[in-house]
Structures are given as C-alpha cells and as structure tokens.
C-alpha cells in the first residue's frame, strides 16, 4: 500500500548500501530508493536545497532509513533536525546502525525515531530483517502522505 512512496537511505558505507539495494530487490521492494552518503546531503535532500534544489531530484520520502555514524554531520543530528522541523517531523525515521550502545538506542527513540534496526553480520538475518521491514512498514503500516510539503511550498 505504500509502494509508491520514495525511501531515503542515509548511508555512507557503499557495501552496506549495496547489500541493502540487493536485498530490496531480492525481497521485491518496488519503492523508489534514494541515497545520501552524508548528513549535510540528507538535510539538503529533505529541504530540497543545495544539491537537491530541483524537487524532481528529491521527492519527499515516505520513510527514512538513517545510519547513525556518518562523516560530518552525523545521523543523530540529522534525526534531531528532522524531528525539529515541523514539515518533516511526520516522516518516520528508522535508525539503521551497527551500534547497540544503549545510549544511542535511547537517544534515537528520545529524538523521535520510529524504530531501531541493528545491522547484523549474518546474511540470512539481514535478509530476514529487510523482509520484515517490507512486510511491516511497506505493506501494513499506514504512512503519512506528503501533504505537509505542499503546504510549505504553496
């Protein structure tokens, strides 16, 4: 039901993104996939500024998969910014991280993350995780539409 909604992946690791992409295909996720490798870039994407001044290039995502450890502005700050911005805060953010530091988990939820996914070193587990993600977030969860953006853009 959310198949048309763009998904933004904020991930600096090419291999991880590669795996994600492959697994998305494998479990047949049709949603358009966008990638930013840096925190700054992600914000530009979301705000449609800078590199993403052209709205065609940067549609409002229906969901963000956010890695925490990024070069420069890191995932925690991206999350904070996103959740403090009225027209963006309704976008669900799933943290997608290697860190199981309880502080990271705690702070992610405190700042409004909708979920926290731990990257496993185990291919089958990874695939199962993505499958579940699809089933849950893309097939069953009702996500907000992009109306807020329209309001802002006038």
């Amino acid at each position: 039901m959310n198949r048309g909604l763009p998904i933004l992946v904020v991930e600096d690791n090419d291999e991880d993104f590669d795996m994600l992409q492959m697994t998305f295909q494998r479990v047949s996720i049709p949603n358009p996939l966008y990638r930013c490798t840096e925190g700054e870039e992600a914000l530009e994407f979301l705000e449609q500024t800078g590199r993403y001044a052209n709205p065609e290039q940067a549609p409002r995502p229906g969901l963000v998969l956010l890695d925490l450890n990024l070069a420069g502005l890191d995932g925690r700050q991206v999350l904070e910014h996103l959740k403090n911005t009225p027209h963006l805060k309704s976008i669900p953010v799933l943290v997608f991280s290697t860190s199981d530091n309880p502080k990271d988990v705690q702070s992610a939820y405190a700042h409004g993350a909708s979920g926290y996914l731990l990257k496993p070193v185990d291919l089958p587990r990874f695939e199962r995780m993505i499958q579940l993600f699809k089933d849950f977030w893309l097939d069953h969860i009702v996500l907000p539409e992009g109306e807020a953006r329209e309001g802002v853009r006038r």
């Binding site: 690791n13 291999e15 991880d16 795996m19 290697t98 860190s99 990257k119 990874f126």
Partner: protein, 763 residues
C-alpha cells in the same frame, strides 16, 4: 608584759600550711637582735628576748629605754640622723658598736619602717668597717657580664647559681622555676662534688605555700643560718602588745615556719638561703642555697650581692627565656624539615614519617610513637600493645572535645585504662591529622617516678604518733612518689610546638595528595568516557568492513558455489566463519568494556527468582545435555543488581554445562555463611575441572583453556566478565577444582553488607 608565742609546738595539720600566719611568727632567729623603735626619741618599744646574749643587756631592761643608751656618744648622733631619714634603707647596713660593761660588740644594723614602726635588726659582725667596696664591685661587674652573656635560660641559671655559690660558699645552690601549678623544676645547680645532683628534679607546689610565695615576692632574700635554733620571742611594752603581733614581712630575722624547718631537716640541710626570681613582677622561681656541713651565716654585704644577682637575673629572664632550648628548637626544626622532605617524596607519607624511625621520636623527645593512618598503624620504639593502642585511639576519637593536639604528662588522669601501660605511655601527645577520619600521630613517654626526688610531700601528711607532729623524710618521699605515679616527664613547650608544626605539615601534604587524587580521578573519569566511546566506535568501525566481507562472501557462496574447487569452497566457508568469530570477539570486548562503566542498580534481591529465570532460559540446553540442576536450599536474599546477577548465573551455568564430559551431569547452586557473617555463593559442577595452574589465568580476558571449537567454543570473556561483575559488587571470586572431578566457583557480594540481610537461608 605580754609575749607572743613563737608556736614551736603548734599543731601541724594537713590544712594549716596555707593559713599559717608566717608574717607574724612572734619570734626571730636568734642570730640577731630585733628592736622596734619609736620615733623620734628612738625608744625601744619591742625587743627580742635574746638581747642579753648578744648585747649583754637583758631584754626587759631595754624596753622603754632609748637606743642611744646602748651606743657610744659619737655614734649615737650619726645613727639618729640615719634612722630618722626618709630613706633609711639606703643607709643599710648601719655599722653599730655597742659598749656594755666595758665590752664592745660590732653589729650590722638593718633598718626599715613598716606599719608606722621603725624596725632595727642587729646582726653581730666581726668587722667594724664595711667590706671593701671595690671587691664587691669587681665581682658584681664580672658576674653581671657573665649573666648578660648567657645564651639561653639554662646558661643564665647556671651562671647565677655559680655566682651565688662563689659568693656564699653554700654546699649546694640550685635555681628552679615554678610551673603553672607552682611545682618547681630544678634548672641549674652548683654543688659540692660529693653530693647528689638535684638537676632536673621536681618538687611539689606545697613545699612553698601560697603566703610564703607572697613574702618571697616582697623580699628578695631569706636566710636561715642555723636551722636548729630556738626562736627568740619578741617582748613588748604593754601598750605595744595590745596592737597585736609584729608584722615581720620585711624582717630579715623573721622566724620561719616549723614546718619549713622540719622540711629542711628532712633534706639534711643545716642552713639555707633563698633568693627570689621575679619575672614581670611575678614570682618565677628561686635560687635556693642549702648547707649540709653545719651552720652557715652569710654577712649582710654578701647577701646584698646575692640579692643583686637575683635581681639582675630576674631582669634578664624575659629575654633569656625566649632563647630557652634554643639549640633544641633549632634541632627540632631541622628534623621537621627532614621529615617533611621525606614525607613529600614518599608515595606513602606515613612511611616517610617513620623511616628512619628515630627522627620522629627526637622531634618531641618521645620514647615511642605510633602513626595511625587510614586504619593502618606503624609503631616506633616503645608503644602500648595493639589492643591498648586501639582502645586509646577509640577513646581519642570519641572524646567529646576533640582537639587538634592533645597533650598530657599523666594520661591515666584522663583515660584510666592507660594505667595498664604507663610504663610505656604515661605521657602522650596526640596530634589529630584529619577532621572526621581518625588519623593520628601519637608520641609516648614512660612513667618516671624517680624524677621527683626532692623531699616533701604534696599532702604534708603528718605523723601524729607522739607529742610532736613530725614529717618523716622516708615516708614522705615514698608517699610523694606514690602520688606522682603514672606521670611522665613533662612535655616541653618546644616539643609540643614541634608536634603541632608536624601536624600542620602532614595536613598540608594530605590535602595536597587528595587534590592530586581528585585530579587523577577526574582524568580517569574522562579517559574512561573516552575509552567507552572509543570501544563503541572501534566496534562499529571494525564491524562495518567485517559485515562487508561476510555478506559478499556469503553472496558469492550462495549464488555461485559451483565455480569453486572443493578446497576453495571450504576456504570461502572458512572466511565466513571467521567473520562471525570476529564479530563475537568484538561484541565480547565491547561488553567487557561496558561492565566496568554501567551503573549498578543495587537492591535487595531474591536470588532464587533470578536463578529460576536464568534456568528457564537455559532449559533447552540443560535438557539437551541432560544436566541435573541441584539447589539444596533456597539462596539468601542479597543486595545486588538483578540483571547483572542473572548474567553471572547464566555464565557460570553455561560453563558448567559446557565443560562437562560426564555421563550424568549435574550442577549445584548454593550459599554458605562465612564466619564474618557474610554469605558465600557457589556454583559447583562435576565437569572436567581446571588444573591448579589455571585458577588465576582462567579469569584473564580472552584466555581459553581449550581449543577453539572444543566444548562448544567461546571467546574467553565470560569468566572475566563474571569476575568483573562480582568485583563491581565489592565481592570476591575464586574457585576450587579437582581436574576430572569438577569445579566450584565461589563468590561473595560485598554489597550485601551495606544493608542488614535477613538471611533466611544463611547459616
């Protein structure tokens, strides 16, 4: 005619010394004649009854006559002028010659006015003229410069007693100083070489009663030329007798108290003289002369010279006393400096304070010391036993009026239990080295009974057997010693000051050390935080490439397994397996780092519940390996972190299951009481056991005793983490094992002592 009794047989009791009216004894010492004259006619109103012996005229016939009748004509008029002058003392001694019955007698006349009476005391002399002035002048001059050049108090005292002995020829001359309680300490002496030394000895305040001290302040000098004298009573004209007894406060012939004479007799003295020493108007001490080899008369001029020595010495007291123990003070300071230097240099300053040991003792002139710091005691020299010392420290700590420095020469007066160890610690200086915590440096001095050897008994007990009360030298010595039992030599001012000074230094050092510690702690805290985030970052950054290797290898293996030779296929599989091992190592390391960092949530916990939840989780494995779990009796409750304890049990139980090759496997969990009232927990198995040489290394991180894949494999962090968790509970962990027969892991939880444990199951 009325006479005043000289009271030789007056009842002496324990209380009358202070009340005895010694300024109105009613009699004089019979080596001179006392006359009370009425001005201006110089009529003799009162006269001592020994007048006949010395003047050749019966006393009674002198009463009412004029003084002139005794004298030759030319002398009478000059004497009259002298006696009637305002400042008649300036003319002392008056040279008198009497002629009675054709015989001439030479006298020194000493005149003074008191209470409207002119008192003239005549002492026989063989010389008609005054002693050569120059002799005295030169003597005085050299003695003055010697006194003035004395470098400190004891040198001053020594010069003075030498001078007085040289002037008088007494067998013994001592100088002593009163303490606050009027006990006297002998500071210097000059004596016949054959006699015993009195130096450093003490005698009690009651030797010189209050009113005697008052007279000593009024007069600079007293002399008793022959203590075995019969006092000569004073005879008065009837009108004068009605005026009450003659006040002899300023009389040189004044008869002394029979108690004092008895006292001198006890000392074996046959003659005595004393010179007052005053400091800023207050009686400070005495120069006391005694003669044992017979009577000792000192002529007036010599007495004046001695008086002068006393006065001059008195004027020097303030400056010389400031220099007292100058050398010792300097010495104490240099010891102080050395101790301080050692304390600052040594990481454990208590060690610096006590090695090498003699200096700490020398600092205060103690014979023993104890440095009690943070529950650890270091003893130097002679000190009470451990328990006695602990009792003393407890007493000091519990004192209602804790002082920075507690100092006494008679500890048992304050702390009766100290009587038991007076032979090492009758005297104590206790310097408290910290507020709140009870850290002390203690200095001890033993009981010294023989220090008080001068005769005399502070309580003046009197032997009432027989008609005459008598003081018995032996008995009074013994009694006096008895009363000073439990006393040490007094601590000198500079010794107490040295202790105070050391206390200040130690506190400074402790303060400085604790500041350093605080700084270190802060740095440690910071580096811990950094290490913590480092561990996460490291694990993250390590895991990222690892995940890549793993995933790509897995993908290749999954998608094209056929393109590999069997060997390479196996190798590729190994790569995947290694990535997983590495991941688990990284996770373990991270977990270990966390154990030390995260806060424990300590609460009273039912360990039985914790255990059963752990067993529930482990049930599948227990069943798989067919392990019997034994819990002989319920575990007592403990103050602990529930989650962490679950981890401890999980780890220990997992190990017990893993390292077991027996047919019938079992694991037992229990608790036993310790003699100290705590609880020891244990997890016992009948597994493969651990060789003794590994009992310590087994707790080392990443240390495994078996091959990687034996016994289900493992990272070698489990026990390390368990031990760390136990230690974070202030507990201790150890093991007993019989290789082949099983292992028991024991642990305690120190935290449980923080609160009383009901201990249902504890024995």
């Amino acid at each position: 005619m009325q006479t005043d009794g000289a009271r030789p047989g007056q009842v002496v009791d324990l209380t009358n010394c202070d009340k005895e009216p010694i300024h109105i004894p009613g009699g004089i010492q019979p080596h001179g004649v006392l006359l009370v004259l009425q001005e201006p006619a110089l009529t003799i109103r009162q006269v001592s009854e020994n007048a006949e012996a010395l003047l050749g005229v019966p006393a009674s016939s002198l009463l009412g006559t004029a003084l002139e009748s005794l004298l030759t004509e030319p002398q009478a008029s000059s004497l009259r002028t002298c006696l009637l002058s305002e400042r008649l003392e300036d003319n002392n001694p008056l040279k008198l010659t009497t002629r009675v019955g054709g015989r001439e007698h030479f006298f020194n006349g000493i005149a003074h006015r008191h209470q409207g009476r002119l008192i003239l005391e005549l002492e026989p002399t063989f010389e008609q003229e005054a002693l050569p002035f120059f002799g005295f002048y030169h003597q005085a001059r050299s003695s003055m410069s010697r006194l003035r050049n004395a470098k400190d108090l004891s040198a001053l005292c020594l010069e003075a007693v030498r001078e007085v002995r040289r002037l008088t020829g007494f067998d013994r001359v001592i100088a002593y100083r009163f303490d606050e309680e009027w006990n006297g300490a002998v500071l210097a002496e000059d004596r016949l070489e054959t006699s015993d030394s009195y130096l450093g000895l003490w005698f009690p305040a009651s030797d010189i009663p209050r009113q005697a001290r008052e007279l000593y302040t009024l007069n600079w000098l007293r002399i008793i030329p022959a203590i075995h004298y019969e006092p000569a009573r004073i005879l008065s004209l009837p009108e004068d007798a009605g005026q009450g007894p003659l006040d002899m406060s300023f009389c040189v012939l004044r008869s002394v108290s029979p108690i004092h004479l008895e006292y001198l007799r006890n000392m074996g003295a046959s003659a005595s003289m004393s010179i007052s020493l005053l400091k800023e108007g207050r009686l400070w001490g005495l120069i006391s002369c005694t003669h044992v080899s017979g009577d000792k008369y000192v002529p007036y001029e010599v007495r004046k010279a001695c008086e002068f020595v006393g006065e001059f010495m008195s004027s020097l007291l303030v400056t010389k006393e400031g220099n007292e123990h100058y050398d010792q003070r300097i010495r104490a300071q240099s010891i102080q400096v050395r101790l301080l230097e050692r304390m600052t240099r040594h990481p454990d300053f208590a060690v610096g304070l006590t090695h090498p040991p003699p200096e700490l003792l020398e600092l205060t002139g103690a014979t023993g010391a104890a440095v009690y710091f943070n529950g650890r005691t270091t003893i130097i020299g002679q000190a009470p036993g451990d328990e006695q010392l602990q009792g003393l420290i407890d007493w000091l700590a519990a004192k209602p009026d804790p002082q920075e420095l507690f100092c006494t020469a008679c500890l048992s007066n304050h702390y009766p239990e100290a009587a038991a160890f007076k032979d090492v610690a009758a005297g104590l200086i206790a310097a408290s080295m910290s507020r709140g915590r009870h850290n002390y440096v203690l200095w001890f001095r033993p009981e010294v009974v023989q220090t008080v050897a001068w005769g005399g008994n502070p309580n003046k007990p009197v032997d009432l057997e027989g008609a005459q009360p008598r003081l018995h030298p032996r008995k009074s010595f013994a009694l006096w010693k008895e009363t000073v039992r439990g006393k040490s030599l007094p601590w000198k001012d500079y010794e107490v000051e040295a202790a105070r000074e050391l206390r200040r230094s130690v506190i400074d050092i402790v303060l400085q050390r604790s500041e350093e510690l605080l700084k270190l702690n802060m740095e440690l805290e910071r580096s811990n935080v950094e290490l913590d985030s480092f561990a996460y970052a490291a694990s993250h950054d390590l895991k990222e490439p690892l995940r890549g290797i793993h995933n790509y290898t897995s993908l290749v293996l999954r998608e094209q397994p056929d393109c590999f030779s069997p060997t390479n296929l196996k190798r590729m599989e190994t790569v995947t397996r290694l990535t997983q091992r590495m991941e688990s190592l990284i996770n373990s390391l991270l977990h270990y780092a966390q154990v030390g960092r995260t806060d424990l949530s300590l609460r009273e916990t039912d360990l039985n519940e914790v255990l059963s939840s752990v067993l529930e989780v482990l049930k599948p494995r227990m069943d798989e390996f067919q392990v019997e779990v034994r819990v002989p009796r319920p575990l007592p409750p403990a103050l602990c972190d529930r989650v962490r304890m679950a981890e401890v049990f999980t780890n220990l139980l997992t190990n017990a299951i893993k390292y077991n090759d027996k047919e019938k496997k079992w694991v037992e969990i229990g608790a036993t009481g310790t003699p100290q009232g705590g609880t020891t927990y244990y997890v016992r198995d009948n597994g493969i056991g651990i060789k003794p040489e590994y009992h310590d290394t087994i707790f080392r991180i990443f240390k495994r005793l078996h091959g990687r894949d034996k016994y289900g494999g493992g990272t070698g962090t489990g026990l390390t983490i368990v031990k760390r968790l136990i230690e974070r509970h202030n507990g201790r962990m150890w093991l007993e094992s019989q290789p082949g027969a099983g292992t028991t892991f024991f642990f305690t939880l120190g935290s449980e002592k923080a609160e009383p444990v009901t201990g249902k199951g504890a024995k």
